[in-house]
């Protein structure tokens, strides 16, 4: 990909935006990072809180293996260095959502070192990529939640989230436009969901972005950055960057200076503002948590992590293109969400089985049908693939009917509509509605012969060179067959007879 040409046109000239993202991704685990309480979303306040999470005197942390396993698998998925020796540090500060008075995190020796993610900005051309560096992934505790609007003079503290495992995925400042940042977050989310290490539910806070933005004259040194905290959708990330970059340009062009500070994004106005409550005390006094020992991983553990990794989105996309012959666009669409890819692969297997063909032979058909027929229909119904009444098995049956020539493409559309309504099997619908098409060569020949005989004049004209009449013969034959003639067979027979 060519260098981004995204520029902010200031009064004094062009400005380039430099973006780095710290993504906090909630690790998929049953229990918390250092305690046995549950992590499920939406529970009663303070019901998923242990004595450990509430930082009662004398409580101690014990590390959850699954959280480490998921972070390691994530690191492997971005081809990062996995540190067999890491350790946990305390980040000390006072806040009501932080019962211990420190967050157990990893500063000095993170679990995962450098890796990278490829992003693509153009759907139509997924090969046109840019590599975004990942500096590190470390594992840390989430904080609790404060509620400010339930009492006139008090804030309420709910510690259900307190101690839930997070991966903090820190990118390099490699992004240069809101679109690149958006693509990065989307791609990261895709990878996490493939790996199964984070559910990626941004609206439930399972993925939050701290957005670091600075501006500079193209080619010059990095400017002072601000960090906008906890932005929780791809769109908001892009909005926050755009607003923040423009704000910085305004400040700089009017002779001001950018203050390195923490800011908040307001989704209703799409703007950022300085965060009062975290202004002071950037002195976190990190030091190794003396309640814990260094984390040492052995080869067997790492081997299991690697072996349990699924095929990842880029690899899958390439395989769809190279082995299944799908277009780059289709391959990109089908691999963007792990659920879609899984659904597609089941559809493909069912179709091949039902049609008695190799998957590669029916892949294009299946891909096209899924993308242009089923997605469209589900969209209209306002439902998703997961809730689709047409399962991959039922879809495979339908596609096999097309592949075998039992029904035509247009009949298949009709069948799909009925399937979505009634949930019936394709075969049943085809029988009942009489949608089977005629592929028997003898029967079609007989109809063709009749059409040609009845239009001898047109046959003459055709043979004299008026080739456009071919469509007329097809139409007449299909009409005679009430639309049920297999168009391919009709074509072939007509071609032969008119030759």
């Amino acid at each position: 990909m060519a260098d981004s040409t995204y520029r902010i046109q200031g009064a004094t000239g062009d400005w380039e935006v430099v973006i780095g993202l710290e993504v906090h991704a909630q690790v998929t685990s049953n229990s918390k990072l250092f305690s046995g309480s549950a992590t499920a979303f939406g529970a009663e306040p303070n019901s998923q809180v242990s004595l450990v999470d509430a930082a009662m005197p004398g409580m101690l942390p014990v590390l959850n293996r699954e959280c480490i396993r998921q972070a390691v698998r994530t690191g492997m998925a971005i081809e990062a260095q996995i540190n067999k020796w890491s350790r946990f540090d305390r980040k000390n500060y006072f806040y009501a959502d932080l019962p211990q008075g420190y967050q157990i995190s990893q500063l000095y020796h993170p679990l995962v070192g450098e890796g990278s993610i490829e992003i693509a900005l153009d759907d139509k051309n997924p090969e046109d990529t840019k590599t975004i560096g990942i500096e590190r992934i470390h594992v840390e505790q989430d904080a609790g939640k404060l509620m400010h609007d339930q009492h006139p003079t008090m804030s309420y503290v709910d510690l259900n989230r307190s101690g839930v495992a997070l991966m903090e995925i820190v990118s390099r400042p490699d992004m240069r436009s809101p679109a690149e940042a958006g693509a990065y977050v989307s791609k990261l989310r895709t990878i996490l969901r493939y790996v199964g290490s984070c559910d990626g539910n941004m609206d439930q806070g399972s993925m939050r972005c701290d957005v670091n933005v600075s501006v500079r004259r193209p080619g010059e040194e990095f400017g002072t950055r601000t960090e906008t905290k906890n932005v929780n959708s791809v769109r908001f990330v892009m909005q926050a960057i755009e607003h923040e970059a423009n704000r910085q340009v305004d400040v700089l062009e009017s002779g001001g200076k950018i203050v390195q500070e923490t800011r908040l994004f307001d989704p209703t106005s799409g703007t950022t503002r300085s965060m009062r409550s975290k202004e002071d005390a950037h002195d976190y006094r990190y030091f190794p948590d003396p309640d814990l020992l260094p984390l040492e991983l052995d080869d067997a553990f790492l081997e299991e992590c690697r072996a349990s990794l699924p095929e990842l989105p880029d690899a899958k996309r390439h395989r769809y293109e190279n082995e299944l012959g799908l277009s780059p666009y289709n391959a990109g669409v089908l691999t963007a969400e792990v659920e879609t890819a899984r659904w597609f692969e089941r559809l493909l297997a069912e179709t091949a089985k039902a049609a008695g063909k190799q998957p590669a032979e029916v892949a294009k058909q299946a891909a096209n049908w899924l993308i242009s027929e089923l997605f469209g229909a589900l969209n209209k119904l306002g439902t998703s693939l997961e809730e689709s009444p047409v399962t991959p098995e039922k879809g495979g049956d339908l596609l096999a009917l097309i592949a075998k020539g039992t029904i035509s493409g247009s009949a298949a559309k009709q069948v799909l509509e009925i399937m979505l309504e009634t949930g019936e099997d394709a075969g049943v619908i085809v029988e009942r509605e009489g949608l089977k098409q005629e592929s028997d060569t003898g029967a079609i020949e007989a109809e063709v012969d009749k059409v040609l005989a009845a239009n001898a004049d047109k046959v003459e004209q055709y043979k004299a060179g008026k080739e456009a009449l071919f469509g007329f013969f097809v139409g007449q034959t299909m009409k005679a067959m009430k639309g049920k003639g297999n168009p391919q067979v009709v074509n072939e027979i007509l071609k032969a007879k008119l030759a």
Binding site: G36, P45, V62, T153, M154, Y156, L293
Partner: protein, 100 residues
């Protein structure tokens, strides 16, 4: 390195301990005495020495990912968690209103 009143005030603020002017004045020489004494550590040649990580050779154990496996470290005990709270309200801990 010795500390002055402003530094002690800053440390006290970091540690969230309110101190009066008078207390500050008394603390400065005390802390300086202690700091001057611990600074003799600077004499020790520590070239090539790793900082201590585990005092007794021991490896970090990893726990199975099971919810509430031990009631002492599991959740589902809101009453116990809130039992000693100075201001528990509607199942929450109450604190003076925070403006973010």
């Amino acid at each position: 390195m010795s500390v002055d009143t402003a530094t002690v005030a800053k440390i006290a603020s970091l540690a969230r301990i309110k101190v009066s002017e008078q207390e500050l004045e008394a603390m400065v020489p005390e802390l300086n005495g202690i700091l001057a004494w611990v600074e003799q550590l600077g004499e020790v040649d520590v070239t090539g020495v790793e900082p201590m990580t585990a005092v007794i050779p021991n490896k970090l154990r990893l726990r199975d990912d099971v919810i509430d496996a031990d009631p002492l470290t599991g959740g589902n005990r809101r009453d116990a968690v809130l039992a000693n709270a100075p201001a528990a309200e509607h199942g929450f801990f109450g604190v003076p209103k925070v403006i973010e």
